[in-house]
Structures are given as structure tokens and as C-alpha cells.
């Protein structure tokens, strides 16, 4: 029962948080205190849930029953619990940072910005804990709708078309591709519940499995899979706190979690029927990773560069999930790589965006060329930036390295050496667009007139960056326990 209350709190607290922030926008101190306090509460509940999962407890809450055999239900499982712990933990750091940014930049309508950040956290938690495809679909669409005001926040001529493109692309792909795939699955299996081993395992012929896989993977456009990726660069014009919520904490991780859940619980790691579609999609995401990393190199605005960099990393998650369905013996390793990649992407991307947000708030600089030497005047922020860059590139001992290592191992082990090569090339290209940038910021001569105000970055702006960067080191000690924690969800499918 306690676990159920905690689950309800994780999903409901952010909604209450958003309502309170909207009702009490002033004084700013109270507003920020509510935002940080509730984020902390959600993180504590998430940690409690992870502990409950580790002890073999289950919890399930049913909110409605809109169709026969289909509930709007949320349940805890190892995958969802781990993702929610990481994301809500980072959300606490981000809450502190957002409080600093809205003060330093005097962002207009700060209460609305913070409220929708809270709501999008509720959305991603609901995605992670969704107990069946229908609940996933509802949570996914709710997340798209709550992230829309984040993109549209400034409300100017740049933001409004961007927000429209964001919403149109995410909703159109989910209704046009994900919804038919879901109804088709329901027609085949008679149920939509996520279960270890896969709902469809042993129930579909090869042709249906291949078509369904394509519909599912392209329909979950939150992974920024080409050709459904345009929403991600379009959204990069938003304010920095919104960008962290979209790229690091809510929307992009929700896409990764969705694809991973579909691969694990709908198809199952023992499914070999969909191998052709899986390989074709691996080619698509592999080439997409390389092209995204190249486009990132060509972008001179830090927000656009980080958006394309995030896209390349997010596609690596999809590659991991697809490798599990490509018919090799390394299915579990591939799913593990995808899960680690979501975690490392969330940590690294949150750090990079928060560091860029601090820089923009304190120095007003958003161009890549203007970053030279800033590390000398903002050592903590750029130490975090450099560590997160190293993690994105895949340098050990940071989190990204372990994800890349497992991904390449799984690709090579499945006999798809070319997929391993594509992933490696993407990592090298990530180095070219982040490595020199970080090195230049740390090593070049300090600019004389860096700060808009003489006192530099406040503790609210600097501390979250370095703490989030430190989080990328945690996997060094925790990788074993994470593997042990996640093992039940795919070992079951493989034994059968």
C-alpha cells in the first residue's frame, strides 16, 4: 500500500506543484520554494519506489477503464523506476537552476514556465510507469501538450511557429502511426498490458511484426528519429529552463523510454520475426546519428548545436532497443545499453544545457565562438560543461562511455559490425562538435568584459551544473547494481 501511495505521489505531486505555482506566483521566493520543495518530494518518492522494486514489491493504480480489458493504469517496474529516479533527481537540480535563471534573466511569466516544467515531469513519470500501451499513449500525448507551452513560452514571432511545428509533428506521428500500431496490437493480442517477454511474442507472423515495428518506432517521434525529428531543432529557440525540460528531463527521455518499453514489453527480446525491419531501422538511426552530429558541427548557436547533439545521442537509444530485436544473442546487452544511454543522455544533456543557460544568463553569450576563455572566469560551470561533453562523446570513466561500450559490444556480438562502426563514427563526430568547444572555453585567454554584472554566477546557477556533471560519474560505481536491478525485465523473455 505504501508503494501505491508513493506511486500516486510521484504522478500527482507535480500536478499539485504546478497548480500551487500558478496560484501563488508572488512572492518569487515562495514560488521557487514550492518548485524546489515539490521536486525534492517527487525525487524522494521515486527513490522509495526504486527501493520497493528492488525488494520485489509491486504497485498498480487504475484511474479509469475506458475500453474492455484496457485500463488507464500505472505500475512500477525496474525500468520505469530507474528512469524516474534519475529524471526526478536531475529535476531537483534543475529546479534550483531554473529559479536562478528566471531571476538572473528576468524571464517574463516565470510562474507559467515553472508550472509547465513541473507538468512535463508528471508526463514523463507517467510515461515511465505506464502499465500498458494505452496508458503510455495517453501519457505521451499529455506530455506533448504540456511541453507545448514551454516551446511557445516567449510568444513572439519566432516561438509561435516553432511551437506549432513541435505539437503538429509529435501529435501527427503519434496519432498517424502509434495509434494504429496500438489498435492493431490490441486486435492481435486482445490486451495491451506491458509484460516481460512481450505481448506479441509467438502471436504474430513475420510480415505483421515488421510492419508493427516500423509503425511503433516511427510513431514515437519523441526520440527525434528521422524523418520525424524537425520538432527538436524547432524547439531550440525556447528559454533555457524549458530546453532542459524538453531535451534532458522530459520529452527526449520519454521517447527513449517508450521505444525501450515497446522493444522489451511488446515485442520481447526473444522476438526474431521483426529482424528485417529492425535492421533497416538500425541503418536509418545509424546514418541519422552521423548526419545529426555533422549538422551540430555546422551550427554556431549553442542551443542549436546542443539540440542536434542531443538528437544523435537519442538515436543511440533507439539503436540499442532495435539491436535487441535484430535476432542476435546479445539482446539483453543491447537493451541494457539503451537503458544506460537514456540515463547518461539525461545527465550529460542536463549539465550541458544548464551550463549554457548559466552562461547566457550571466554573460549574455549564446554563440559558440564567444565561449573562448569563459572557463577561466566561470571555472565551476565550465568544469561541468567539459565533464558532460566528455560523457556525451563517450570518454571513460563518465556515464556515456559505458553506454557506448555496451552498444558497440551488442552490435558486434549480434554480427552487425557495420552498426558498431556507425555508432563509433557518430561518437567521433560528437567529439568534433563538443571537444574543441569545451577545450577552447577552458584554455583560451579570458575575455576582459565577460560578466554583465560584476558578481558573476550565483550559487543557484553554478552548483546544479557541477552536481549534475558529478552524476555522470556515478555509473562508475553503480553499473553492476544497475544491471542487477534491471535484469528481471529481459531475462524472463530470454529464458522462455
Amino acid at each position: 500500500v505504501n508503494a501505491e501511495i508513493a506511486l500516486f505521489c510521484v504522478l500527482g505531486a507535480p500536478v499539485l506543484q504546478a497548480a500551487l505555482i500558478m496560484l501563488l506566483p508572488k512572492p518569487p521566493g515562495l514560488r521557487d520554494l514550492i518548485h524546489i520543495g515539490f521536486s525534492l518530494f517527487a525525487a524522494v518518492c521515486a527513490a522509495y519506489l526504486a527501493n520497493a522494486v528492488a525488494h520485489g514489491e509491486t504497485a498498480r493504480i487504475v484511474l479509469a477503464r475506458p475500453l474492455p480489458n484496457v485500463d488507464l493504469a500505472f505500475a512500477i517496474d525496474p525500468l520505469g523506476a530507474m528512469m524516474v529516479v534519475v529524471l526526478t533527481g536531475l529535476a531537483v537540480l534543475h529546479a534550483v537552476h531554473a529559479a536562478g535563471v528566471v531571476r538572473a534573466k528576468q524571464e517574463k511569466a516565470p510562474a507559467r514556465l515553472l508550472a509547465f516544467i513541473a507538468l512535463s515531469m508528471a508526463g514523463v513519470c507517467a510515461v515511465a510507469f505506464s502499465a500498458n500501451l494505452f496508458s503510455f499513449f495517453v501519457a505521451y500525448q499529455a506530455l506533448a501538450l504540456t511541453a507545448f507551452p514551454l516551446v511557445a513560452h516567449r510568444g513572439d514571432e519566432e516561438a509561435r511557429p516553432a511551437a506549432r511545428a513541435f505539437l503538429a509533428m509529435l501529435l501527427a506521428s503519434s496519432i498517424g502511426l502509434l495509434l494504429p500500431a496500438m489498435i492493431w496490437t490490441y486486435a492481435i493480442a486482445g490486451a495491451l498490458d506491458f509484460q516481460a517477454g512481450g505481448v506479441l511474442a509467438g502471436r504474430v507472423d513475420a510480415l505483421t511484426a515488421n510492419i508493427l515495428l516500423v509503425l511503433f518506432v516511427l510513431g514515437i517521434a519523441m526520440t527525434a528519429i528521422p524523418p520525424m525529428h524537425a520538432w527538436l531543432p524547432a524547439s531550440s529557440s525556447g528559454p533555457f529552463p524549458a530546453l532542459v525540460a524538453i531535451q534532458a528531463l522530459a520529452v527526449v527521455p520519454a521517447g527513449g523510454i517508450g521505444v525501450l518499453k515497446v522493444a522489451t514489453f511488446v515485442f520481447g527480446p526473444a522476438m526474431a520475426e521483426a529482424a528485417i525491419a529492425a535492421q533497416a531501422l538500425i541503418v536509418l538511426v545509424g546514418v541519422g546519428m552521423i548526419v545529426a552530429a555533422l549538422i551540430a558541427l555546422s551550427k554556431q548557436d549553442i542551443r542549436e548545436r546542443l539540440a542536434y547533439s542531443c538528437m544523435a545521442q537519442s538515436l543511440a537509444v533507439v539503436m540499442g532497443a532495435l539491436l535487441a530485436l535484430a535476432g542476435g544473442e546479445f539482446a539483453a546487452a543491447a537493451l541494457f545499453a539503451a537503458a544506460l544511454q537514456i540515463v547518461s543522455l539525461a545527465c550529460a544533456s542536463a549539465t550541458l544545457l544548464m551550463a549554457a543557460g548559466t552562461t547566457a544568463a550571466i554573460t549574455g553569450r549564446t554563440k559558440v565562438a564567444d565561449y573562448a576563455g569563459l572557463g577561466r572566469v566561470m571555472p565551476w560551470t565550465f568544469a561541468g560543461f567539459a565533464i558532460a561533453s566528455a560523457s556525451m562523446i563517450g570518454m571513460p570513466p563518465f556515464a556515456g562511455a559505458w553506454a557506448k561500450l555496451w552498444l558497440i559490444t551488442a552490435a558486434a556480438g549480434s554480427g552487425l559490425v557495420w552498426a558498431a562502426v556507425l555508432a563509433s563514427v557518430a561518437a567521433i563526430l560528437t567529439f568534433t562538435h563538443l571537444g574543441p568547444l569545451a577545450a577552447n572555453a577552458l584554455a583560451a585567454r579570458a575575455p576582459t568584459d565577460a560578466f554583465k554584472r560584476p558578481d558573476g554566477a550565483s550559487i543557484l546557477l553554478a552548483a546544479p551544473v557541477i552536481l549534475a556533471a558529478a552524476a555522470t560519474l556515478l555509473l562508475l560505481v553503480l553499473a553492476d547494481s544497475v544491471a542487477f536491478f534491471l535484469a528481471p525485465i529481459w531475462s524472463q523473455g530470454l529464458v522462455q
Binding site: 475506458p66 475500453l67 474492455p68 510568444g155 496519432i175 495509434l179 492493431w184 486486435a187
Partner: protein, 180 residues
């Protein structure tokens, strides 16, 4: 504006026109009726005649806008509204019978719904009121009541459709009895 919206909606009702799918079509009809009452009621309560008059309607007439939003969401086939149930049933019937084109058309109709419904909601909540219309936005309260009831039904039946499903199967049983 009204004519084209109505036509698109009716097409999806009669698309899989086969006797044993009557139940599904009845659900979709109820869905459409509830959505349409909420939709037109909300608009009529504020004497809205052109789309441009909806600019900033969310601030001038929050309750009427909520009714229109519920109606638009249901016509879009958003999950947890009664419109979603109708769409789901139609696609399921199409897939089950191997009528892929029918399932595809329902999905395309939903997508079209997202675009026009989305534009409507955007106008109400994300645009400033047009000064030419801002003055005469007085809401007719009697007109608002049925609209709000229908809006509540649109959402409520989406959450718990058991009652509607039973009624639909009873009604389709009666109707097919009359037809054959």
C-alpha cells in the same frame, strides 16, 4: 466552417457501413452529438459567427471556451474523451475485418481533426482578442448550460463508457431487428 466540419465527422461514421458494425457507429454518433452540442453550444452562447471572433475567447468567456475545447478534443479523437472510443472501435473493426483502407481513412480523419481542432484551440487561448469583436462577447447563460453538460458527458463517458457500451449494444440489437 461548420459545413465542412460536419461532413468530415459524418463520413467517418458511415465509412464502415456494415450491419454488424452498427454498435460501433452508434457509439460514434453519440460521441459526435455530445461533442457537437458542446462545440456549437459554446460558440453560440457567445454569438460567435466567424473563426476570427474566437481570438482570445478563452479570456472573455472561460466556461464557453472550456465547452468548445472539450468538443474539439472529442472531435479530434483525443484519448479519454468519448470521441476516442468511437475512433478506436472503428479502427479496430477495420483491422479486424481486413478493411485496411477504412482504418486508414479513420486515422486520416483524426489527423485532419487534430489540425482544425488545434487551430481552434490555439485561437481561443494563444491569441489576443480582435478589437473589433472584443466588445460584444456577452455570454448567454441559458445557452451555456446544455453546452457544459455535453462537455462533461464528452469527458465523463470517455473515462467510464460501460453504460454507453451497454446502451449501444441494446439499441443496435433493436435496430438490426427492425432492419432485417
Amino acid at each position: 466552417m461548420r459545413a465542412c466540419r460536419k461532413r468530415g465527422a459524418c463520413c467517418s461514421v458511415w465509412r464502415s457501413a456494415r450491419p454488424r458494425d452498427l454498435r460501433r457507429r452508434l457509439i460514434q454518433l453519440v460521441a459526435l452529438a455530445a461533442a457537437a452540442i458542446a462545440f456549437y453550444g459554446g460558440a453560440a452562447a457567445g454569438r460567435v459567427q466567424t473563426l476570427a471572433m474566437l481570438d482570445g475567447y478563452g479570456q472573455r468567456a472561460p466556461l464557453a471556451s472550456a465547452a468548445i475545447t472539450a468538443g474539439a478534443l472529442s472531435l479530434m479523437g483525443a484519448p479519454l474523451t468519448i470521441g476516442f472510443l468511437g475512433r478506436w472501435r472503428l479502427v479496430e473493426a477495420g483491422v479486424g475485418a481486413g478493411w485496411w483502407w477504412a482504418a486508414g481513412l479513420v486515422i486520416i480523419a483524426s489527423l485532419a481533426g487534430v489540425f482544425y481542432g488545434g487551430r481552434l484551440i490555439e485561437r481561443m487561448y494563444f491569441r489576443r482578442a480582435n478589437t473589433a469583436y472584443a466588445g460584444d462577447g456577452g455570454v448567454w447563460r441559458v445557452m451555456l448550460a446544455p453546452a457544459l453538460l455535453a462537455a462533461i458527458a464528452t469527458i465523463g463517458l470517455g473515462f467510464a463508457p460501460g453504460f454507453l457500451l451497454r446502451a449501444a449494444s441494446a439499441a443496435s440489437g433493436m435496430l438490426t431487428g427492425i432492419v432485417t
